[in-house]
């Protein structure tokens, strides 16, 4: 990652989101779901930061915590130097115009009882953006900008297709002229042709409005298309954080390597398919050492004993694995390119 003179727009440090489970009886030990367990990253202005991971890795929880829609247990989330976790009530409500969200499911993210024109207008009214007289024009302009027609303003969400609904959601997120847009799997509910259009729209909007995206996805191809930097999450932690090209050219963490090899058509630096055994461990009873050790084909004694921390290796990349050397050599690099999975 090249050094950037501008301070980052978003700086998340040591973010933790833990959910206490209800106790079966008052003397039972408190059990906790470690949904996000110490995540740090920075998002430079006008760039896209991707977070990938499988279900339960904590990527959506991270997004919701950044959006202040769930409360962070600890850590800080600084947007332009203001720590959002310290805001509450009216000050948080007023700050919200600077960060908005595009949701995963275009069917449940629009209130079925509100006309789409009102859905896009609401952020302007609620956060008092612009003069009231100009808001109707602004809504029409937003509609045009996302590829909808102004005569559709009076329709209800159920009268639109999935792709059109997602455009309404994008217009709503743009309405308050935010700096940061958190995209939580914005295309995973759409079919492939519509996915491409929606992604292209997001790219155009980023260019035209100077937006910064925090982009959550489980789809590596989408992330590869859109993101400048990518963090791979596994069970609440970032296991690898690097720029797009080096991640896809040569993944360092064995988990990233396995993930990339599962993408049909993606080379991912190696041709063999790696099939991981088993499921991730429970986020309630975390293993002692590396969280991935139980499924890692290269795991050693040390991996099961000591949890690896995210550290910088050669090329400005960061990885949390004992077996990756400081010069950026990973255990799977030594494997022959066309070998079968060693697992």
């Amino acid at each position: 990652m090249s050094p950037i003179a501008d301070p980052p727009l978003l700086h998340v440090s040591d973010l933790k989101v833990h959910f206490p489970l209800p106790r079966p009886h008052p003397f039972a030990p408190q059990r906790t779901v470690h949904a996000v367990d110490g995540v740090s990253f920075s998002l430079p202005r006008r760039t896209t930061f991707g977070i990938v991971g499988e279900s339960g890795s904590g990527k959506t929880t991270t997004a919701l915590a950044v959006m202040q829609l769930i409360t962070a247990t600890s850590g800080s989330i600084e947007l332009d130097g203001t720590d959002l976790t310290t805001l509450s009530g009216e000050s948080l409500r007023r700050a919200r115009r600077r960060f908005q969200m595009i949701f995963q499911d275009p069917y449940s993210s629009l209130n079925p009882r509100t006309r789409v024109g009102d859905i896009v207008r609401e952020p302007l009214d609620l956060m008092e953006v612009g003069a009231p007289a100009e808001r109707a024009d602004r809504v029409t302009e937003l509609f045009r900008r996302v590829g909808l027609r102004p005569e559709q303003l009076a329709l209800f969400p159920h009268q639109f297709s999935g792709g059109q609904r997602q455009r309404v959601g994008i217009a709503r997120a743009l309405a308050s002229r935010p700096d940061l847009i958190v995209c939580d799997e914005p295309v995973s509910a759409l079919d492939v042709a519509i996915q491409a259009q929606t992604l292209n729209l997001l790219v155009e909007l980023q260019r035209d409005f100077g937006l910064s995206y925090l982009f959550i996805s489980h789809d590596l191809r989408v992330v590869q298309y859109l993101c400048d930097q990518i963090a791979v999450m596994y069970l609440g932690r970032i296991v690898e954080l690097t720029d797009r090209n080096s991640l896809f050219a040569q993944p360092l963490h064995p988990y990233t390597w396995a993930l990339l090899s599962a993408v049909p058509g993606a080379s991912g630096g190696s041709r063999q398919r790696v099939r991981l055994q088993g499921d991730p461990p429970s986020p309630i009873m975390l293993p002692r050492g590396c969280r991935f050790a139980g499924r890692c084909p290269f795991a050693e004694e040390r991996c099961r004993r000591e949890e690896p921390q995210l550290r910088q290796v050669a090329g400005g990349r960061s990885v949390a694995c004992h077996l990756v050397t400081d010069s950026g050599e990973a255990p799977h690099h030594a494997l022959p390119a066309d070998a079968d999975s060693p697992v």
Binding site: M67, M101, F103, E122, L148, A193, A196
Partner: protein
């Protein structure tokens, strides 16, 4: 090596303009109209309402006046539906008694929904401690036998139309509170509620303008059925002699004429049929609304 081909021909935009905006409420009304028994219920209820509103003017006989010999059979001695044990005109009782039943039913249902929706909405939306306190309170009311509690309230305050309606409201709000809470728990996790919060909606707006409108369909059904139950309750209280002594009501007519059931079946049966038809029509409307609002039932 982008794997996603930039697709510039925007097929998604070319979807035809849908029909002019049809609101969810209008859709529900269209479904309701197709339901024969629901429409029958609506017609019966409308007939009773009409009778209650303009009947006393068309048939200006005081229901407390003695018009003929006691227990005259219907059609004889000049009384269309006969007379009761004191010689009072049953037709006049039916025409005037509906006012009490319907008024108490509507007031009690309104009170039930007001208390129930408020308690359920706050409990479901805020959760945690608020939820625990409100739900324990709800349980306190649920474990008391409703008719006995209503009787106690009515006897403490003198029995008037209002005290009867309020007592019924107080004993029956718990189920609508539970229903509202369940709907709030379901809806508050949906993305459009998160979206509303992220665009700056305050809690008050989230509760009353975002979540509640989407929770309404089952609540409307519940309010309808509650009206029917409240009418039965009022009849029960009047039957036991705890109605407003200055007003004639169907329950009171049944209760008073009950000892003469074997000699004069009409005196207790006719007001009973009136109660039955009113409550049945309301239930049919409730079922019709339920089907109209429930997309899963629509396909059948």
């Amino acid at each position: 090596m982008s794997l996603i081909a930039p697709d510039l021909n925007d097929a998604d935009k070319a979807v035809d303009m849908p029909a002019p905006a049809a609101s969810p409420a209008r859709d529900a009304w269209r479904m309701f109209r197709r339901n024969g028994s629901a429409v029958a219920g609506l017609v019966i209820l409308a007939a009773f309402l009409l009778m209650t509103l303009i009947g006393p003017k068309l048939y200006p006989v005081d229901p407390f006046d003695i018009v003929s010999a006691p227990l005259s059979p219907p059609g004889e001695e000049g009384a269309l539906l006969g007379t009761d044990y004191l010689g009072r005109d049953i037709t006049a009782g039916i025409v005037n008694g509906g006012k009490v039943s319907l008024a108490v039913g509507l007031i009690a249902a309104a009170l039930t929904m007001t208390i129930g929706v408020t308690v359920g909405a706050l409990a479901g939306f805020y959760g945690g401690m608020v939820d625990r306190v409100l739900m324990r309170l709800t349980e306190v009311f649920q474990v008391m036998p409703p008719l006995l509690l209503a009787m106690a309230i009515v006897t403490i305050f003198s029995p008037t139309l209002w005290s009867v309606a309020v007592s019924i409201g107080i004993v029956s709000w718990t189920s609508s509170a539970r229903l509202t809470r369940a709907e709030f728990l379901r809806i508050k996790g949906l993305e459009y509620v998160k979206a509303a919060r992220s665009i700056g909606a305050r809690n008050r707006r989230l509760i009353w303008r975002v979540v509640l409108p989407n929770a309404l369909p089952p609540l409307i059904v519940s309010a309808t059925l509650t009206t029917g139950v409240a009418i039965l309750f009022e009849s029960g209280l009047s039957f036991l002699g705890l109605g407003d002594p200055n007003l004639m009501s169907w329950g009171r007519m049944m209760g008073g004429n009950r000892p003469y059931m074997l000699d004069a079946w009409w005196a207790a049966t006719i007001p009973g049929v009136a109660i039955f038809l009113t409550v049945l029509s309301i239930s049919l409307i409730g079922d019709g609304l339920n089907e109209a609002f429930n997309p899963r039932l629509r396909e059948r």
